[in-house]
């Protein structure tokens, strides 16, 4: 049974902030097959294409038939916890600070035995379900969950090291004017966020949904225009030390390609989307990275909402797609830099949203509420990449199969 975590008390400003430390980083190249799966919340094991054997740890040849034709395939999550230990005296500083730390040996029904971090409700000799998670170092680790849901299970301390759960965390949603921003605020509130800072450029201008937004307990409207560097710097000076999760809902979507449009429109897209991201990262990134191990409400995650067309240009929204691609590239830079603090960067890839800027685009489209729910589930599940909606999933699959085909097909 997990005791529910308590709302953290207001922090004593004279107290030193504990610096983030990380679990061990090195991995073989092959083992990043698990990193990939963990990023998307899939459970895979390496399997031999020649003889079907499941194996672990990651290999370069099959231990049954020596075939080099190995793939990371979806695998059954079920196993039995054979043995467990509480490590009281670990060697690494990260684990020393969190000791005792509990791990176990899980015999998978499909064959291999895995060393796994244990959820507190896992019992020796009993069935467990495994998932791949990204630890604070951003590397894949096996995590064993009890077979069935248990009370307060997401409050488990070892699980909280894997997730970026909004519960009791303070969130900045950068744009409260958009439908996605408003839905995100509501969903994060429902998920237990304690304070919701909601950015508004030109807050005196009224907008639909304003009343409902302001009525949510814990919402604090803050002035923020991400395209304006000074605005971002000022806000960070004010609240930068208490943003645990940053949800970048900034959007600037315009239809059209390259030819026959004014450069200024393209520049606006870059100013808002790309430079807006740059300003936010430069102003909020350092404080978040420093607060990655700051207790129950440590800095935990940065969420970007990106178009799936960041991965493949959609000429109908061509210049905007390119700005999204720039944001995607930048997110990988930010991810590498925030990793030192154990702070995740989550990219949510969506197809066209069901909002006014995609008015002429035929369905299927993604409802703003679905985006909001996806943000919460990515945070709670500790994901890094999430594809939302049929279009995003479709593009992802087609890209994996043949990127050239996607290019031609999107361009006609």
């Amino acid at each position: 049974m997990i005791e529910p975590i308590k709302r953290p008390r207001r922090k004593d400003p004279l107290k030193r902030t504990r610096l983030p430390t990380l679990p061990p980083l090195p991995r073989s190249r092959a083992s990043h097959g698990f990193t990939r799966a963990a990023a998307e919340g899939r459970f895979v094991l390496q399997s031999c294409a020649a003889c079907g054997t499941f194996m672990y740890p990651a290999r370069d040849a099959c231990p049954s038939c020596l075939s080099a034709d190995l793939c990371f395939a979806e695998a059954p999550r079920a196993g039995t916890l054979m043995s467990e230990t509480r490590i009281h005296v670990p060697a690494e500083v990260y684990f020393r600070e969190r000791a005792p730390w509990r791990i176990g040996l899980v015999a998978m029904q499909c064959g291999p035995t895995l060393v796994a971090h244990l959820h507190k409700d896992c019992q020796e000799g009993k069935p467990v379900a495994l998932s791949w998670q990204l630890d604070k170092a951003g590397q894949a680790v096996a995590f064993a969950h009890p077979e069935h849901e248990t009370p307060n299970m997401s409050d488990d301390t070892q699980w909280r090291e894997m997730s970026a759960d909004p519960k009791f965390r303070r969130v900045l949603v950068t744009n409260g004017r958009s439908a996605v921003g408003q839905e995100a605020v509501a969903a994060l509130k429902a998920a237990g966020a304690s304070i919701l800072f909601v950015g508004l450029a030109e807050p005196w201008k009224p907008f639909p949904g304003e009343e409902r937004l302001r009525a949510i307990e814990g919402v604090e409207i803050v002035p923020l225009d991400v395209g304006d560097e000074k605005s971002v710097v000022d806000l960070a000076a004010d609240i930068g030390g208490k943003v645990d999760i940053l949800v970048n809902t900034t959007e600037h979507i315009r239809a059209g390609g390259l030819i026959g449009r004014r450069t200024s429109i393209v520049r606006d897209e870059l100013d808002q989307s790309y430079l807006g991201f740059v300003h936010l990262a430069q102003s909020f990134g350092a404080a978040m990275r420093a607060r990655g191990a700051d207790g129950v409400n440590s800095a935990a995650a940065w969420v970007n909402i990106l178009s799936v067309y960041a991965l493949a240009n959609w000429p109908a929204f061509g210049a905007w797609s390119a700005a999204q691609a720039a944001c995607l590239s930048l997110s990988h830079c930010l991810r590498a830099e925030l990793r030192a603090g154990g702070v995740k960067v989550i990219n949510l890839f969506t197809g066209p949203l069901d909002t006014e800027w995609f008015q002429t685009v035929p369905p299927p489209k993604v409802a703003p509420r679905a985006v909001a729910n996806a943000i919460v589930s990515a945070l709670k599940g500790g994901l890094e990449d999430m594809f939302l909606g049929d279009v995003a999933e479709d593009i992802r699959r087609r890209l994996a199969a043949n990127p050239k085909a996607v290019e031609r097909e999107l361009g006609t």
């Binding site: 991995r27 073989s28 740890p57 043995s83 230990t85 670990p90 791990i103 176990g104 060393v115 020796e124």
Partner: protein, 392 residues
């Protein structure tokens, strides 16, 4: 008794057991420790370094050197060279390799040596870079070396076979009693079962006195033909039989037996002796639980009877089952790869009646075993040897 198809050892002997007394931490290098052991070998044998024409070396901390670098470092010109990275199984493997080289005439006098330094941070460094599987699938879980891995193996074994902490404690306590007679043991105070049970937990069910203390030190011996030993007037122990096995029983979900179990019949058949003929046993004791596993797998009792066997016997030097007579790694210390040699050099001293204060009365026939390399979730390397003294 089944017969062995392997070529028997033909009057191949091991001699001049050397132990360079251990220290907890050393500012010296592994090469310094190995050099001291080589010097002790030539002095002990009454030979010169030029007489050594074979070298076999094991060390975790001599990087970036391997055996070849050491030949130039120590001015040895050898015609046979081996570097054995098998951790706790290195000594048995070294004995096997050297014995065959000598028997085939590839070398006349082989120096087998293991030595490691222990700088303040070298143990953690060794753990971090131990193996690819460990790096990928164990170290990131806070295992911080073998403690947690053995904890998982021990807990499974306890549940399956009813072993209790008291049983492991009896092994540790007996070894401490033996160590008090060994002036070189790092542990110099008595240990009671109460103290053992009350020790702080390291990784349940492993507590402080289940763990070895990493330290610096070196161990060595020579392998040669019996007649060479005689011409040098060296007391020498005959190699009767050896076994070696790696990655046995890979389909056991959790390790409850080691590779010895695959080869134990061969071990006794080749030596032409039975377990009860042995006068003493030196097992690999990185944890008492692994000792218990060896008692089963080396044929002193059946699988699962380890706990009962421990309860029924006295493991001290003068007891019913003299075991780890020097005090073992648990009480002497674990000098890296030297830990693999500790039991073997002590076994040589026992059968050669050179053990002094730890001497088992009338010891003529003994067994030493090795266990090593927690590559991921289990120890992969196992080995054992039966040695006979001149009186046997």
């Amino acid at each position: 008794m089944p017969s062995s198809a392997r070529t028997p050892y033909d009057r191949i002997v091991a001699a001049v057991p050397v132990t360079i007394p251990y220290v907890r931490y050393s500012a010296e290098s592994a090469q310094w420790w190995i050099g001291r052991a080589l010097r002790a070998l030539v002095e002990g044998a009454g030979i010169t370094p030029r007489d050594i024409d074979g070298l076999c070396v094991s060390s975790f901390t001599m990087g970036p050197d391997s055996g070849i670098g050491l030949t130039q470092h120590f001015g040895l010109s050898v015609r046979w060279l081996d570097t054995i990275p098998l951790g706790g199984a290195s000594a048995i493997a070294a004995l096997r390799r050297a014995a065959r080289a000598v028997q085939a005439g590839d070398a006349a006098i082989v120096a087998c040596v293991a030595g490691d330094t222990n700088h303040v941070d070298s143990f953690r460094h060794t753990l971090e870079h131990f193996s690819r599987f460990n790096q990928d699938a164990a170290y990131p879980y806070g295992t911080g070396g073998p403690n947690a891995s053995f904890a998982l193996i021990a807990r499974n074994y306890m549940r399956q076979y009813g072993a209790r902490r008291e049983d492991f404690g009896k092994i540790a306590v007996s070894q401490r009693a033996n160590a008090l007679r060994n002036p070189h043991a790092l542990m110099k105070t008595p240990l009671t079962l109460e103290q053992y049970l009350a020790a702080r937990p390291i990784a349940d069910p492993i507590h402080l006195f289940d763990c070895v203390m990493p330290c610096a030190g070196a161990e060595a011996f020579l392998v040669m033909r019996e007649e060479v030993a005689a011409s040098l007037k060296l007391p020498a122990a005959k190699i009767l039989s050896t076994i070696e096995r790696h990655n046995a029983f890979g389909n056991d979900p959790v390790q409850f037996r080691g590779g010895w179990a695959a080869d134990v019949d061969e071990l006794y058949a080749m030596a032409g002796v039975k377990p009860e003929d042995l006068d003493f046993v030196e097992t690999y004791d990185d944890y008492p639980m692994i000792v218990m596993m060896q008692l089963e797998d080396l044929g002193f009792c059946r699988k699962g009877e380890g706990p009962a066997f421990v309860r029924e016997h006295d493991f001290t030097i003068d007891g019913s089952f003299p075991h780890n007579t020097s005090g073992g790694q648990l009480s002497v210390g674990q000098a890296g790869a030297g830990g693999a040699y500790l039991g073997l050099t002590e076994a040589l001293r026992q059968v050669l009646a050179l053990a002094g204060p730890t001497q088992v009365k009338g010891a003529r026939l003994g067994l030493a075993s090795g266990f090593g390399m927690i590559n991921y979730d289990r120890g992969l390397a196992t080995g054992a040897a039966i040695l006979a003294g001149p009186a046997a």
